[in-house]
Every structure is written in C-alpha cells, then in structure tokens.
C-alpha cells in the first residue's frame, strides 16, 4: 500500500459560541475564540489517500481528479467564508479543528473512488491540528 498526500490552503473566519452556555461560561470555556465578531486562520489541509499504484499508470489515483474534488468540496465551500454562518455542514456545531476535519472527511470520503481516504489532517496554525482516520484503521 502506498500513501499519497495532497495539501491545500484556505482562509476562513470562525468563532466559538454555544448558545446553551451563559455569556460567562462561553468566555470561560472558549476564551478569546468567543469574541463576538469572530477571527480567522489560514488553514492547511493535508489529504492522504491509500492504495496500490496502477501497474499501467504508476498512480494510486489521478492527482488532477483529487485536486478537483478538493476544489469543489472544500475550497468552494470554506475558502474566504465565515464557517459558522456560511458552511451548512457546520451549522449547529462549534467549528473547532476537530469538527471541521470531521466534516471534511465526511465530504471527501464518498467522493474518492480511486484508492481509499486514509487521513485528513487540518492545521489551524503551525502548532495546532486535528487528524481524522477511519475507525479501526492503523494510524
């Protein structure tokens, strides 16, 4: 099995706020991520697909096709958007790195037909990221 990883970057804004919490509780749990008008990040997404190289083409998958899937499913949905208000899949969820990575996994998994989605890694900054794996698969 070979793993192939493609990286893209997008910029988006978000804030953390749970309407079930009091204002004080929101502030205590989420800190400055609770500032009411939001803030933004340059996100880096690494998508890793596992598979066997095709004996004829030498490729696990057509990277151009993966690039198009990422453009359609992630860039158009999230790039230069306010994640809380503009991304339907995140409605009602706190748009943490964990939740965004999971949404991206769920968007990409059914679309990747050549090879199998192995890992979604989403960096919110150089020092913070979330990894998403298929449950039971070796990391």
């Amino acid at each position: 099995m070979v793993l192939i990883t493609r990286k893209i970057e997008f910029s988006a804004s978000h804030l953390y706020h749970n309407p079930a919490f009091s204002a004080e509780e929101n502030r205590r749990v989420f800190g400055k991520c609770n500032n009411p008008h939001g803030h933004g990040h340059n996100y880096t997404l690494e998508v890793t697909v596992a598979g066997e190289p095709d004996p004829v083409t030498g490729m696990v998958l057509d990277l151009k096709e993966l690039k198009e899937i990422l453009e359609r499913e992630v860039m158009r949905r999230m790039d230069h958007r306010f994640l809380n208000y503009e991304v339907a899949e995140l409605k009602g969820k706190i748009p943490t790195c964990e939740n965004i990575a999971r949404v991206i996994w769920e968007l990409l998994d059914p679309k990747i037909k050549q090879g199998r989605l192995h890992r979604v890694r989403l960096y919110e900054s150089g020092d913070l990221f979330a990894d998403c794996y298929r449950n039971g698969a070796a990391c």
Binding site: Y16, F129, R134
Partner: protein, 143 residues
C-alpha cells in the same frame, strides 16, 4: 460511518544535552556519539508534537480544552526542560543517555496521565532533519 479524531499540538523548548555514558570508555563514547559526546554539551531547539484522542464533546466541539492541555504539558514537561541541561537538570537523565529516543519515552511517560483525553503518541523533532516518535509500545509490535 465511524471515524477516529485526534488533536495534535506542537510545543517548543530549547535545551542542552550531551550523549555520553559511563558504561563506555572515552574512546568508545567518541566513536559511538561523535561530536555529541563533546564534554560541555550542546543544545537544540526541540519541537514536541503530541496527539491525543477521545470523543468530541458536542457542547464544545473539542476533544480536550487546549488551555487544559497546554497547562498540563507546561507543568509536566516544559517548565522542567526548557532552557535547561537535560543531563544535569532532569533526574531521569542522570543515568540514561538523553538521546531524542529516550526523551520521547520520558515525555510520553510524563504525559500519559493527562486526565481529559488519551495520549496517542509523542513526536520530538531534534532538528528539522531528525524526529522520533513513541506511542508507549515498548515491545515494538505494530499497534
């Protein structure tokens, strides 16, 4: 469809060390460790990367609150390691060579009791060309 989510966090510390063991002759120390055995030690800017897993709390969207994780890592590792000599200032390395392999194991042991999530692995980057990982599996069997 079920997925597993891990939270990854990077920290930095600067420390000095010397690779040397009293169990080898001076000649053998130099042969084994090269310039890393120079008597007064040398330093690195280490990058510590840790991954934790657990259920994402629907109320917060988080596996673990970063403030809790950061303060735990600060207390258990960074306060004692940053701007220190690993050989002289960290008791665990009095008789253990502070290679980055052993550093990974020591850090894993210190962090595995994090109460809010499961520690999956520790990765320590000694330089941009060297990094080491430890997931608590001492026997080396594939997990």
């Amino acid at each position: 469809m079920s997925v597993k989510i891990e939270l990854g966090r990077r920290y930095r510390f600067a420390a000095s060390h010397r690779l040397h063991t009293d169990q080898l002759s001076e000649e053998d120390n130099v042969r084994m460790f090269g310039k890393c055995a120079n008597p007064y030690g040398h330093g690195h800017n280490y990058v510590l990367e840790i991954s934790v897993s657990g259920d994402v709390d629907p109320a917060t969207g988080m596996i673990a609150n970063l403030a809790d994780l950061d303060s735990f890592v600060e207390r258990e590792v960074l306060d004692e390691f940053d701007h220190r000599s690993l050989n002289e200032d960290v008791a665990a390395f009095r008789d253990v060579v502070p290679t980055t392999e052993n550093l990974c194991i020591e850090i894993y042991e210190r962090l595995k009791s994090f109460p809010k999530a499961k520690l999956e692995r520790v990765r320590v980057q000694e330089t941009t060309n060297n990094s080491f990982e430890y997931d608590g599996n001492q026997k080396g069997n594939a997990s």
